[in-house]
Symmetry: D2
Subunit: 261 residues, 4 copies
């Protein structure tokens, strides 16, 4: 069964900026989607900011295994209810790949619980991406390092939680370093942040970047059905205890009562 | 210099429920505060839900090294702006100890990025807390395990991110287990979640529990001054690059422009 | 392409002890191998302690994707050279599943760098295994918890490094808890330790245990070719530096010289 | 009570090489020891390879809170029994700071369980060390980054386990990156690996490096008494079970018997 990926694009720079449009004439999301679809084992669709509910309805998300997110200028305009809906799907098991400027997206900050801040410089400098975790599924088929001749610099400290595993670290010509590929799990969902992808450079046309995207989608696919129980906090009756116990001591709650949230 | 701890109590059950009042006649926060103050190396003050801004003004938080949080019934009534203020202070370095039902507090869920759900049963059953990380600073001076004869059960799965380190795991009489002591870092701030502390039992009068609280406050104290820079995402000018680089390629941003959030 | 699993059995208790033989008449390794082969996507072979080089020649290991290890009485008799050979293959990417008493095997201690000690009691007590990381690939298809009515107790503290992810925690009838399913990576190799499997009980005939074994083998399969470069520490000549640099300052090593090990 | 640090130096290059002697006329260990002693809260002594038992007798180690290790040329000549003794003390709680070429020391490889390999180049190039975990105790008082104008390059992939926390990442002039400050726990002992310190450059005279060393010693100090129980695997009699259980099922071991190792 094919993995179902959904590439979400903000789709604003491509409409407003001639340079970005010239690199991504059909939108960044389209180029990203084609890169992911290239091997034929992943079904890819796209959604954009401008659609109703940003194209991320409950129905669409329920049919999505892995969501890929590129956003930048409109972070604040993304609807909070949609963000919460995406977070819930991640907790249930949907994979999430956050790209580049998406470090400041509401959904990434929501799931990290940190500011996700960093340094930046838009100077078209060279970035060299080192694989620090060789044979990690996300690095499959990559060389020891690869270069993006023109990229925006992102510099440490990157205010994210300690990753589950660090896969890539970038070297920048101007003297900075950055943890460019980091993994997390939130509930049943896998999350991968991948740094490259400034809108004024042809990053998503790069073969190594494309491979990382495909690898990441495969790595982040759900294992098993949606974990709906993660939203619940069941009050287990004494009579259903796995080992026989006798209720004792003072109580606050009535039998079958729900807990406070 | 003494560590400055602030114990925050919801202070509702003590007012409404005769049983809770009988165990904690001066409020749970007062008992917790005394437990923390017992060794004399920590200055402890208290704040409660009912105060203006829940007693957690910017000034108060700026003078707090470690915040200890007990909340339950009024989770939803805690002001969002105060929650955000506390989160910002944690990122800057303030320690945070979250107790028991605080797993569902806004501040804990905000910092974890997960639902923080779990199973529960209020049956006054026996809990045995095992130290799985002996000589961790938070377990200092504890025996290999200790018991709380009457406690509420919390059962796995506990929907939190993989901890930095797991310190305690609980055994429950009714057949469940729980990761009862788990550590995290968010920005510059240390976070410790400690499970025990149901309001209808005398848990915070227990000597081992009191020791855990003191240890945790010491462990979570900030290292150095508040990390205010964590809120910024500076645009580093090419002219200030650490290594000489020449700007090239197309640009989206103007010099000195701020990034999008 | 099928995953190639190799089940290594110590094969001593089955020969010496009537009880063990009655449960595992063809050897524990055979039962374990059949459990792993049940879905048909994994090719399984076996090797035993009594074979030359314990059946773990370089050739055999080179053709193994995932090695499953059950040992107990003869830990000390396992040849150090074979242990080192297995460790090298793990670093290159071979998966390793260590079962039960294998916590004290040379290979597990070698890869953990810790004593791997624990408490134990052979009393046929009930073990309840909780999935604390639902939808982890290793927990796929399992219920929230499952029971082994007769098992040996293993109790914390378990002297292993903090796991990459904790998948299972066990509750024991006698009052202990144990981290029964823990994951690690060492070099390119995935490692999973799984607690159950005392030789005098029919644990490896249990359907849930069998499912864990299959899941674990799939999870631990290598990603890509053997990472032979992990054994090298190349001296990168200045003339091959990725960025042009000029050699300067005093030197200890001659050009092309190997480093000290 | 002062922390008791012991600086272990290989003390060979200083004896054999004029350049190294000119930078460290009293030995590298002496310079390192002085850097650590500078604030007055740490008692520092030294030991060298050439002493009987390399100066690391059981008595010496028992009186050591944190051991700092610089070795290179004589890695293979370090006595295996001494290595095992040091490992045991780490498991019991002694801190261990491994410096630079110590990545290939027997003790570091023993505790990591990996090859600890890396790339290297001795060209006196510029290293810029970034603090990626600001306000970590080991980074206390440091600027956001600092430079060592002349250093040996170490490049990724660095074949170590995923760290507990990554504190520093280095940028190198020639195009590489390296995780230069990484933390681990093994048993009760804290371990910190710190990259800089090639013998032909004056690295240990650098004020920032000295501060890292002092911070690391404080961070790695033991919490509580030596954890001798980590070496044991006690057979807990049924009669001493914490919860009443009845022995049942077939047994392999006799009452009070020791387990197999």
């Amino acid at each position: 069964m094919k993995i179902r990926a959904l590439v979400w694009g903000e789709n604003i720079h491509e409409q407003e900026d001639e340079i970005v449009r010239s690199i991504y004439p059909e939108g960044m999301h389209t180029t990203i989607a084609r890169a992911i679809a290239a091997d034929g084992d992943i079904d890819v669709s796209t959604a954009v900011f401008q659609q109703p509910e940003h194209g991320l309805t409950g129905e669409v998300l329920a049919a999505t295994d892995v969501l890929v997110w590129w956003g930048h200028k409109a972070h604040r305009q993304v609807d909070d209810a949609v963000v919460e809906r995406v977070a819930e799907r991640v907790w249930e098991g949907m994979g999430l790949i956050v790209l580049h400027s998406g470090h400041f997206s509401k959904i990434f900050k929501r799931l990290m619980g940190t500011p996700c801040s960093l340094k930046w410089r838009e100077a078209g400098e060279r970035e060299r991406i080192w694989v620090v975790n060789p044979r990690h599924a996300i690095a499959e088929g990559l060389p020891e390092h690869f270069e993006l001749e023109y990229e925006e610099m992102y510099g440490e400290p990157f205010a994210v939680p300690e990753p589950l595993e660090t896969v890539f670290i970038s070297w920048f010509q101007g003297g900075e370093v950055f943890r460019s590929g980091v993994t997390y799990r939130r509930g049943a969902g896998h999350i991968f942040y991948f740094r490259p992808g400034h809108e004024t450079y042809p990053t998503y046309h790069d073969a190594n970047v494309a491979r990382v995207l495909r690898n990441a989608v495969r790595w982040a696919r759900p294992q098993g059905a949606a974990l709906r129980s993660i939203h619940n906090a069941p009050n287990i009756p004494v009579t259903e205890a796995l080992e026989p116990i006798v209720e004792r001591g003072p109580k606050l709650h009535k039998p079958g009562e729900e807990g406070y949230r």
